[in-house]
Amino acid sequence: MAKAPTIKKTKAKAKAAPTTGLSPNRQRLWLMYPPKLIKEPLIWKLGHKFNVVTNIRQASVTDEIGVVCLELDGKRDDVQAAVEWLEKTGVNVEPVEMSAIAG
């Protein structure tokens, strides 16, 4: 996936990693923007339209594709509505697991 090497990630302080799961309403998603949407401030719009907390963890933008790894936190219905809006806008939304359905 476009976990592109062009992005320099900020290294958080190394410490003992947590092993607990997510809060039930938090979703971790890959957003893939087609070229026509790359210039749109979609995450800003998302934060204004829906009562969700957006948290970007990784991003890579080229002329061909925009990829953002985003954590969404909020009430389940709000998170669902936000995902549906992104898809309707033309963004491909996948869980970070991506191919959770295998052959």
């Binding site: 996936m1 476009a2 976990k3 592109a4 090497p5 990630k9 290294k11 958080a12 190394a14 990693a17 947590p18 092993t19 799961g21 997510l22 039930p24 979703q27 971790r28 890959w30 893939m32 963890r57 990784q58 890579s60 080229t62 061909e64 594709i65 990829v67 790894c69 995902v83 898809e87 491909n92 939304v93 996948e94 869980p95 970070v96 697991e97 991506m98 191919s99 959770a100 359905i101 295998a102 052959g103």
Partner: protein, 418 residues
């Protein structure tokens, strides 16, 4: 390292290298990069010699130090060590000096390479104390989880898209698995499965158990190297769905070199996809290091993953090994299935048709040299995808119970050169 972790050291993020304990977790909490098992290779080197391997039973577990279980495996102990066939007749047809088929169409117990990954995931799941295992699948993975779970009395949940063919559903139901059909688009089903995996305390084999599960694929590489007489093949052609199998076979080769079990040699790893779902091969051919998601439309259902989780890493491996990639149409897949069956007596599922078809293209285009040696990985059995070739293999010729009629048929066929 603590003794109970076997030869594993930690789970490690493939992006930032941060380490995590060896639990049922799969992404880095910082950058969401995938986690992978890290091993203590110095200790493994002392234990895993050619002599030690050769003294053990012929299963994938003869390489157990390199597989992510702390103790002896408890699920699928007979899996693997499938035949590596020297395919002289197919080699002649494809125009290559030496060709081998790694035949996981006869893997135990469910006739696909998935038994490798599932036996690892379920053995590890039991070590971690899970009593329920789960997966989301359109075929082979579901069958394997259902069968292997049944064999040791684990409870299993199998999630499938609701429009799946009856035959495939039956292949999971028969083992007593809880089969849940989900209505909706693939994307929605995919997200729900990820959510279910996060919410319930189950071992979801290709989600929270993925770091362990994926390692099972390496055993295919170890077997190829050993069966070739402790050497690596020049070319390996591998089908790509998520891209995981390709990256793990490469990792397996590298580990054997690192441990001194084989000499270092030039290895090219090639990826095969169906034209109707070719995000990775399209990116590879365009020279990109990322892929664009696609909506799958192919008879090769076991490879139909439009957003492959390991696509980025598969592209990297092909780049690093000067490998190539190709894709084949549904008709080319059927032709290749028949070609493999008619030349070698091996009936592969559609993914096998993809791999053979792509090998043919890569040899014809010179990306695999005609005077070289190649291994084609066949990952599943043709009996699982009968629908794909139904009506494409001709029909039996009918006669009355009369010797005269049979002789007439034979002489007629001799005339037309059948």
């Amino acid at each position: 390292m603590e003794k109970h972790d076997g030869f594993m050291k930690a789970l490690k993020c493939r992006e930032c290298g941060r380490e995590y304990p060896l639990t049922a977790t799969h992404v880095c909490e910082y950058d969401f990069g995938p986690l992978e098992v890290a091993y203590d290779y110095d200790r493994i080197k002392k234990s895993l010699t050619r002599a030690a391997i050769e003294s053990r039973p012929k299963t994938m577990w003869r390489y157990r130090e390199l597989l992510p279980v702390a103790k002896d495996p408890t699920v699928g102990v007979q899996v693997g060590y499938t035949p590596l066939i020297k395919a002289d007749r197919l080699a002649k047809r494809l125009g290559i000096r030496e060709l081998w088929i790694k035949n996981d169409a006869v893997n135990y117990p469910t006739l696909s390479f998935k038994d490798r990954v599932v036996s690892v995931a379920l053995s590890r799941a039991r070590e971690l104390g899970f009593e329920t295992v789960a997966c989301a699948s359109t075929g082979n993975l579901a069958n394997s989880v259902a069968a292997n779970a049944a064999s040791v009395g684990l409870k299993s949940y199998v999630f499938i898209p609701s429009d799946l063919e009856q035959g495939k559903i039956l292949n999971s139901l028969v083992y007593g698995a809880n089969v849940i059909a989900i209505k909706g688009h693939y994307d929605e089903v995919n997200r729900l499965c990820a959510e279910i995996a996060g919410k319930f305390g189950w071992a979801f084999v290709n989600v929270n158990m993925r770091p362990y599960y994926a390692e099972g694929s390496k055993s295919m590489a170890y077997e190829i190297a050993e069966q070739l007489g402790w050497r690596l093949p020049q070319h390996t052609i591998i089908p790509m769905a998520s891209g995981s199998l390709l990256t793990k076979i490469h990792k397996g080769y590298q580990e054997f070199v690192k441990l001194g079990l084989v000499n270092e040699s030039e290895v090219h790893v090639h990826g095969a996809q169906a034209t109707g779902c070719s995000p990775i091969s399209t990116a590879q051919k365009a020279g990109l290091d990322f892929f664009k998601p696609v909506k799958p439309d192919t008879i090769a259902k076991s490879l139909a993953i439009g957003t492959p989780a390991d696509g980025f890493y598969a592209l990297k491996v092909m780049r690093e090994t000067a490998g190539a990639s190709e894709d084949v149409t549904d008709d080319e897949i059927r032709d290749a299935i028949k070609l493999l069956a008619e030349t070698e007596g091996i009936f592969a599922e559609t993914a096998g048709g993809v791999t053979v078809g792509v090998a043919k293209k890569l040899i014809a285009s010179g990306k695999i040299a005609r005077d070289s040696s190649a291994v084609i990985c066949v990952t599943g059995n043709g009996l699982k995808t009968l629908d794909a070739v139904q009506g494409h293999c001709g029909k039996p010729r009918e006669i009355k119970p009369s010797l005269r009629e049979f002789e007439a048929l034979l002489s007629q066929e001799e005339k037309v050169g059948v």
